[in-house]
Structure formats: C-alpha cells, structure tokens
C-alpha cells in the first residue's frame, strides 16, 4: 500500500503548493506532480511486493504492480503534456487540475489492488468523479460543459447499473470478497448471470465498448487534448484490470456464464468503432472511434479466457498507451499551430516538420498494426490467443476490420506525406510536448523491435489469475 500512501502524500504537497502560490505561479504544481510521479515510478520498480492488506481486500500482486506502473507512466506523460497548455485557466487553476488528475490516479491504483467488491466500486468512483470534473475544466466553453454533463449523466447511470449488478453477485455469493465469491458459486443461478451482465455493462461504459461508448467522441472533442490523451488510455486500462479481477479472479471458473456476452461485446465494438471512424473528418473524433475499436481487440483477448490472452491484453494496453497518447499529442501540436483539428490541418506535415510527421506515422502504423512497430505484436498476440481458444470467427472478424482501420489511419498519413502543405513554415512545438512525443515514439519503436521483456513480464503478471 506504500505506493498509494506515497501518491496521497504527493497530492498533499501539490495541494499545499497551491495554497502558497497565486496566479500563474501555480503552474509549478504540474512540475511537482511530474517529479513526484517519477519518484513513484522508480518506487514501483524498487519496492518489493507486500502481502495482502485490509483483511485481504487489498492485494499487491503481479497484476496490480504491472497495472500500477502503466497508470503511473501514462499519468506522467499526461501531466508532462498538460504542462504545455497555454490557456490562462490552466495556470490560474493549475493546482485543481493536477490534483484532480492525481486523485483519479489514486482511484486507479486502489482499483488495481481491490479484491473486494465494495472497495472495487468505491475505487471505481474515486477514479471516475475527477474525470467528469476534468472534462469540463474549460468551464467558460459551452461545448466543454455539455460534454462533461453528458459524460457525467451517462457515467452515473452506468455506475448505478454496475452497483445494481454487484448487488446481485453479492446476493448469490453472500460475500463481497472476490475469493469468497469464487468459492461460494455452486450452481449457475440465473440471478448471477443477470448480475454479471449488468456489471459488464458498467465496465463497458468505462472502457468505452459499443454501445456504451456514446460519451466518448463528444467528450474527447470538447476537452483539452493532453487530458484526452490520458483519458483515452489510463482509465481504460484500469477498467480492464477491474474486469480481470471480477471476471477471471472472481468467476473465472464459470467463464461460460459471461463468455458469450464478452465475445459479442468484442465483436460489436470492433465493428462499430472501425466503421464509425471511417467518415470522421475531425482527427480527435477519428481517434476516439479508433480507440473504441482497439478496446474491441482487447476484449477479444479477454474472451480467450487464458493466461496468454490476459497477458496479451496487458501488453496491448502498454502499446496502446504509447501509440494512442502519442497520436493525440501530435494532434494537439498541430491543432495549436493551425487552430483546427480536422484532417486538412495535417496536409504536407512531412514537408513542414518531418520529424513530427515521422512520429505521427509511427503512431499510426502502431495503431494500424504494421509489422515491426509495437501495435503489430499486440494485435497478433491477442488474435493468436483467441485462435488458441477456438474463437476463429472473432479472429477472422478482427483481421478483416484491421484493413478498414488501415484505411482511415493511412488517410492521415497520405495527407501528411503526399499532399502539398497549405503553409510552408514548420510547426512550433512546446518543449514538454516534444519530450512526450519522443517518449511515446521511443516506446512504440522499442516495443516493436524487441517486445520480449514486456511480453514475458505480462505473462508473469497474468499467470496467477488462472
């Protein structure tokens, strides 16, 4: 639990720094947060795993550690990228902004360790509520308020559905501790099926599976892009870890109860996400839908119900952190220079800023799943795991829709590399934003050329669930 305590301490430091500074000086809160996160990342590798705490409700196993590192790294990149936000509101209320990010991170960290349904639900809400506030952070802009309100409304409905479903699970099992639930399941009561489906719907909202995804494009479009880059990866990863806890650790022996629902969810999410991304002209919306499609591929790994499938979802999540955050951050850089987020803003980027265009190309290739960039291994491994589980129809579907995905990813690449630029001057990049883009590009390339250590780490993290 020491990582969580460290994070809470960091939150207090950020809070106090806000009390003693005013105006634009509050900006230093972001730097404190970034530095603190670096320390926590180091600690997450150095600290030995601790035994279960809080009466077995809180565990610090391999899965939790893996997930926490992922959350910490992605939040670090998110905070670093947010430092480049220029609007006055981000410096005046910087303390709030970073404090909210950190408290949502705390929710994710606890969620990754929660082995009790109540703790899990509380952590889930701790993660979600700051996100609602953050998405409406630009409170003078009506679109942001509208998007935040939609996010909040749909989110609270989903939370209610999930709490309702959890109550059924409790009703059947008679306990809220996950190992207890696993033990108490005797027959297959219909009530449990209902409960599990409702819980999956609640999780489906958080990971933005079709048709629970509707908040995603609106929220992504209206909120500030560095925040969206983080929102598009970290909470989704947290959602998947929670799904693993409930569905594999809790009712993994009864996979037949929820497997059809999960496989069906995977299929419609892949189809829906990819098809809806096709007609988009706004790059942020396009990435929002493409992100939904990626969630579908990860659900394929879940539907494999195997150690390798789960490990490959973890691997996919890490790859997705770098590829998706990188792509969003390039969009931020271009949008800030051009004042527009539509596809046309990318025209001739390769001639204006060759390195930025190359980075974007790497991210797109990774998202599209081209060999020797990280995303290829992620897709390959997930589909492979599904094939081993005999889900050939899902593999076929996933493979076919990869082609559709390439169509819209390469549409961006074509604008960058083939079309002539509207203006000749290069795009000016804020230094911290540039650093984030470099970090993400490095991640995509290194994991593409040498994925072995991460794959093995993911396999180690996933093995105890089975």
């Amino acid at each position: 639990m020491s990582l969580e305590v460290g994070l809470a301490t960091l939150m207090l430091i950020v809070f106090v720094s806000g009390l003693f500074s005013s105006g634009t000086a509050r900006r230093c809160a972001g730097m404190i947060a970034a530095a603190g996160l670096l320390v926590l990342i180091a600690a997450s590798f150095l600290l030995p795993p601790a035994g279960p705490g809080a009466g077995g409700a809180f565990v610090d196993d391999g899965l939790a550690r893996f997930a926490k590192r992922l959350f910490l790294v992605s939040t670090f990149i998110g905070v670093l990228a947010s430092l480049s936000l220029a609007a006055e509101v981000f410096s005046r209320r910087a303390t709030e902004y970073y404090l909210l990010m950190l408290s949502s991170l705390l929710g994710m960290m606890v969620l990754a360790s929660a082995r009790d349904l109540i703790l899990l639900f509380v952590a889930f809400e701790l993660m979600s509520v700051p996100l609602y506030v953050l998405s409406g952070f630009l409170k003078r802009e009506p679109e942001a308020i509208e998007a935040a309100l939609k996010f909040f409304l749909v989110g609270s409905v989903s939370s209610a559905v999930m709490a309702y479903g959890l109550s059924f699970v409790y009703g059947v099992a008679g306990t809220t501790s996950l190992p207890g639930v696993a033990k108490a399941l005797g027959s297959e009561p219909p009530l449990l099926v209902f409960g599990l489906a409702a819980v999956l719907a609640g999780f489906g909202f958080k990971i933005a599976a079709f048709p629970f995804h509707m908040w995603v494009p609106d929220t992504y479009e209206a909120a500030s892009t560095p925040f969206v880059a983080w929102l598009s990866v970290a909470p989704k990863a947290a959602g998947f870890v929670a799904i693993f806890r409930v569905y594999l650790e809790g009712v993994g022996d009864r996979a037949t109860l929820w497997l059809p629902a999960a496989a069906g969810l995977a299929a419609v999410t892949i189809i829906g996400g990819n098809l809806m991304a096709l007609p988009q002209q706004n790059v942020k919306r396009l990435l929002a839908y493409s992100g939904i499609a990626h969630i579908g591929y990860m659900l394929v790994g879940l539907a494999a119900v195997s150690a390798s499938g789960t490990a490959m979802v973890l691997f996919y999540l890490v790859v997705y952190v770098f590829g998706n955050m990188g792509a969003f951050l390039v969009v931020e850089a271009v949008a800030r220079s051009e004042g527009a987020e539509h596809l046309g803003a990318f025209r001739g980027l390769a001639q204006r800023s060759p390195l930025l265009a190359l980075a974007m190309l790497l991210f797109l290739l990774s998202l599209g799943g081209i060999p020797f960039v990280a995303g290829f291994w992620a897709k390959l491994y997930v589909l492979w795991a599904a094939a081993q589980a005999g889900l050939y129809w899902l593999v076929l579907l996933g493979a076919i829709l990869t082609v559709v995905a390439l169509f819209y990813y390469l549409a961006i690449a074509r604008r960058m590399y083939i079309e002539a630029p509207a203006r000749p001057e290069p795009i000016r990049l804020h230094p911290t934003l540039a650093l984030c883009v470099i970090l993400c590009a490095l991640g995509v390339v290194v994991l593409g050329v040498y994925p072995t250590p991460l794959v093995l780490a993911a396999l180690r993290a996933a093995a105890p669930l089975f």
Partner: protein
C-alpha cells in the same frame, strides 16, 4: 563469439553511419573509407577466428518473438568450421573488392560513390548474417537482404535501361525460387515445430525427423536453385553483369550466388534424409554445368563468359552436394570464390584498359598489361583444373564424389564440362591476351589500388593449391585414373583452344559449322531466355490483361460496392451519435439488454 559478433557488427555500423549521415554518404570517398575500414576490421576478426579451429559448433541465441511454451523465433549466431571459412572468404573478397572499386569507380560522382559503398556495407553485413544464421528464419531474412543488395548493385547505373532491366530480372527470377524456400521453411516448421538448425540436426541425428519431408526439402532446395542460378532459373546471372565489374566479382561470383550452395551445405543433415531430392540436385547441377559451359563457348563478352562459367561451376558444387559430399561442394565453393573473384577483377582491369568488354576488340593484351595477363592466366589455369592450382583439387574432389555416388550420367556431363571449361577459358586467353590482332589505343596496366587485390587473390589461388598439393587436404584422396582423366580433359581443352584460336590450324568458323546444331542453340541460349520472354509476353501479360479486366470490372465493382457499403454503414452508425444525452442513456439500456440476451441464449 565476440569476434564473430564484431565481424557482423562492423559492416552494419558502416551501413548505419552512411545511411543516417547524408553528408558522409555524399562525400563519396569518406563513405568509402568508413566502409573499407569496417570491412577490414571484419576481415581481421574473421581471420583471428579462423586461426582457432572449433570442435563442436558454437551457438548463441537470444529470444526474439516470444510465445507461450518457449520463443517462436530466436536470433543468434551459429559458428562452425564451415561458417568460419565462409566468414574469411566473404570478408576477404569484400575487402579486396571495396579497395579495388575505389580506383575502378573513381570517375563516378561523389554521391553515387557514397551510394555504392552504402550498398556494399549493407551487403557485407547481410552476407555475414546469412553465414552466421542459426535458424531458417534469420537465414531467410538475410537471404532476402543480400537479394535486395544484389538488385540495388546490378541496377547501380540505373539510368541505363539494360541495367535497370537486368536488376528487375535478377530480382524476379531469384524471388521465384524464394517462394519455394519460404513455403519449405514453413512446412518444415509445421512438421518439426522448430526453425533452429541445432534442434533440427539433433532430430536428424536421432533419426526422429518425421517421414515425408521430400517435398519440403525440395521446396527449400528451390531457394538454392534461384540464388545459385541453377537450371532453369539461371537466366538472371549473365544479365546481372550489367552491374559494375567489382560487384560481379563479389556478389555474382564469390559470395551471394554461392549462398545457395552454402545453405545446402549448412542444412545437409536434413537433405541427407531425402535421397530423391539429392538425386535431383545432382542431375540438375550437372546439367546446369554442361549447359552453361556450352553457352560460355560462344559468348564474346568477357564478363558474360565468366558469368556462364560461374553458373557452370555452381552446377559443379550442387552436383557434389547432390552426391552427398557437401564437403567437396564447400571446398569447391571456397577455391572458386577466390579464383573467380580474381578472374572478374582481372577482367575488370582489362575492360578498364581497353574500354570494351568484347574479347574481339582486345588482343595481344599480354604485352600491354603484363600484370593483368599473369593473374588472369593464373585464374584461368585454376578454373580449368590444372595441377597444382586450387581449382584442380576441388574439381577433382567433386568428380570423385560424384563417381563415388554412382551417378554415372552426371559424372559424364561434368567430365565433358571440364573439357569445355578449359576450352572456353583458353579461348578468352588466346583471343584477348595473345592473338594476332592488337587492341586499339594504348592500354596500360591497372593502378596499384586495383593491382594489389589482383596479386593477393592470385597469390592465394596458387598458395591454396600448393598447400593441398604438399600437405594433402582432408578432401583430397588421390585416385590415379581420375587425376589422369581430369588433367587429360583440361589439357585437351587447352589444346583445342590453342589450335583453334592461337595456331589457327582449325578455323573457328569451321569448328562452328561442324557443331552447327550446338552452336546454333548455344548462341540462342537454348531458347530459354527467349522462352521466358515468350512466357512473359504471352502468358503472363495475357494473364495480367485478364486479371486487369477482372480487377477493373469485377473486383473493383465488388470492392467499390463493399467500400461504399462500409462507408455508408459508418455513416448510418454515426447517426446514432446524435448528441442527445437521453439517447446515450438509451444506448446503455439497450446494450445491457443485448448483453443479457446474449448470455441467456448462448449458454
């Protein structure tokens, strides 16, 4: 192990430097210096490695593509005496050729020279990687890389249409064999579950290889057919002479074309279990040797004569491998690598001096180019199989192996080839270096930078032969009648060339008339190139037209309908995103309902 890695890494370093630092590449001579220093370092490492003979193969692997239940593919190094010798050959010839090129290509503009050395470095790295590969996947990757370098270097003067065409022809023809190779690799993996040589050899030794591998190994052999220019895929090699002469010496004589033979030698324990494939290999090899030798007899372009002779000698090696004597094949590969590189470089010096590669425009060059003449003569004697030059021993080893394999047909073809080899090579010597006509202009010997590599290779050609003659190699078991036969054949060939082209007792035209059908066919390359061109024009272009029609009207129509359908489906789906929060909540409700139904129905 470190030495092998050093030898492999240095050319890669040179390539990366040249590829990523444009000013270095554009400087031309700077790039050349980096390249030569790096490959020289490789040569030193390889030579040091060679001085410490290995007992068992040294293998080192790193995991690359993990999978549950052990990594699917590893990368690493497989070092055995064969690889050691091959390392020395590749680095030595690469080093000498790069040195020679500096003078040979000195009139090229600096950026082109930089490009040339960038490709050369990539080639050296890829070829060394191929030699050291511990499994079929890594070997295939480097196999394709050397193919790519060959393509780039044949087409080095890409503004010449003939060079561009030859590059494409080489690429496509070898690719045809590679299709078989890659399918064979995958089939082998399906049958045995591994790509790794050590594991496969272990299975072969224990006799636990699954039965029915004949087709698999035949497909793998097809890769060697393409790369080592065996009949019927030999057509690309003569055309590959459009590249600069040093490239021909390095890639299309000494190293890359021998990769097929090397692969067969490397994987020989696997070929050994499929005697039917070996028999095919021996017959095809011997036939290739004879066919190419006859074509060499009527060719007037000195480089093309050498190219056909390379095809012919590769046939020799393959025949030896097919006779279950990979060591004889490999021995011939090594000696041939040295003396054929010598011949090409010497021919390059002659072409450089005369300004033409047609032997009829040369003549009496021996007087003008004494150094070039001597080394060319050394190379010719070695290739013709005259004692005590290197070629004599390796050729005898091949013939002896084929005889021991009871392959009478191939043996006869190879013996006839030996006669023809001596004849066509001495035809070149008499016409170009002695002869009656004098070349125009004032040709002079090559500058030192070109002469040194010639003398080094010439010395080695003699030294290897003398060493075997004195010490007796492990591959050399003299057999009286065979020695007499091969010397007799070489002598007869030389005599025929002498009386025809030097003494002119028999006029070449009369000889051609006497052997008219052969002459007629050989001049037309037995119609193979023509047939391919016909196939290409008639069948492939016709097929392409048909496919084009189907593609335009059927597939495109279908795809357009499909993509229009996909796009409109996307558009339709987008409508549900109408921006109203209550509809989003309906979405959640519908989704929950669907999940419930799904989990109730498919239990």
């Amino acid at each position: 192990m470190t030495l092998a890695l050093t030898a492999l890494a240095l050319p890669f370093l040179a390539f990366v430097l040249q590829a990523l630092v444009p000013p270095l590449r554009r400087s031309g001579r700077g790039a050349a210096a980096v390249s030569i220093v790096c490959v020289g370092g490789s040569l030193a490492a390889a030579a040091r490695l060679w001085l410490a003979p290995l007992g068992a193969p040294l293998v080192r692997r790193w995991e690359w593509i993990p999978a549950d239940g052990g990594p699917l593919v590893t990368v690493g190094i497989y070092l055995d005496p064969t690889a050691q010798a091959m390392l020395v050959l590749v680095t030595l010839v690469a080093f000498l050729v790069q040195l020679y090129s500096l003078s040979y290509l000195r009139e090229e503009p600096a950026p082109a020279l930089g490009r040339y050395y960038t490709y050369q470095s990539l080639f050296a790295f890829s070829m060394l990687g191929l030699v050291l590969a511990p499994n079929f996947v890594e070997m295939f990757i480097f196999w394709e890389l050397v193919g790519l370098c060959s393509y780039l270097l044949i087409g080095f003067w890409y503004e010449r249409p003939a060079a561009a065409r030859a590059a494409v022809k080489a690429f496509w023809t070898t690719r045809l064999g590679d299709v078989g190779f890659v399918i064979g690799i995958v089939l082998l993996w399906r049958a045995t579950g591994t790509f790794d040589f050590e594991a496969l050899f272990g299975l072969a030794e224990a006799g636990r290889l699954p039965a029915g591998l004949a087709l698999t190994m035949f497909l793998i052999y097809l890769g060697a057919v393409g790369k080592s220019a065996q009949f019927p895929l030999h057509v690309w090699l003569p055309d590959a002479m459009e590249g600069p002469t040093p490239v021909s010496a390095l890639i299309h004589a000494a190293t890359m074309v021998a990769a097929g033979v090397f692969m067969v030698t490397r994987a020989f324990p696997l070929f050994a279990v499929v005697p039917e494939v070996l028999t095919i290999m021996a017959w095809v090899g011997a036939f290739t040797a004879l066919l190419a030798a006859t074509m060499a007899c009527v060719e007037n372009d000195i480089k093309r004569v050498l190219a056909y002779s390379t095809v012919s000698q590769l046939g020799y090696m393959m025949a030896a491998a097919g006779a279950a004597a990979p060591s004889a094949a490999f021995f011939h590969l090594l000696t041939h690598g040295v003396f054929k590189a010598l011949l090409f470089l010497a021919a390059g010096a002659a072409i450089h001096a005369v300004g033409s590669s047609d032997i009829r425009q040369m003549g009496r060059l021996f007087g003008a180019l004494p150094q070039t003449g001597i080394v060319f003569l050394i190379g010719t004697l070695a290739l013709s199989g005259v004692w005590p030059f290197a070629g004599f021993f390796s050729k005898e080893a091949v013939l002896s192996a084929v005889w021991d394999g009871h392959l009478v047909g191939p043996f006869l073809m190879l013996a006839l080839t030996a006669l023809l080899t001596a004849a066509y090579m001495f035809r070149v010597v008499f016409v170009a270096f002695f002869g009656a006509d004098r070349a125009g202009g004032h040709p002079h010997d090559a500058p030192p930078l070109m002469a040194i590599p010639l003398w080094v290779l010439g010395f080695l050609t003699v030294a290897i032969g003398v060493r075997v003659a004195v010490a007796g190699g492990e591959t050399h078991h003299p057999r009286g009648w065979l020695t007499a036969l091969s010397l007799g054949l070489a002598g007869a060939g030389i005599a025929v060339a002498f009386v025809t082209y030097q003494w002119r007792v028999i006029s070449p035209a009369a000889l051609a008339r006497a052997l008219r059908p052969f002459d007629w066919m050989a001049r037309r390359r037995y119609g193979i190139d023509g047939a391919y061109a016909g196939i290409y024009r008639g069948i492939i272009l016709g097929f392409a037209w048909l496919i084009g029609w189907i593609d335009r009207y059927v597939v495109d129509g279908l795809l357009n309908a499909l993509s229009a359908g996909t796009l409109s489906a996307g558009d339709l789906l987008r409508r549900i995103q109408n921006g109203r929060a209550q509809d989003y909540v309906y979405g959640v409700a519908c989704g929950l309902l669907a999940l419930l139904v799904a989990s109730q129905i498919w239990r």
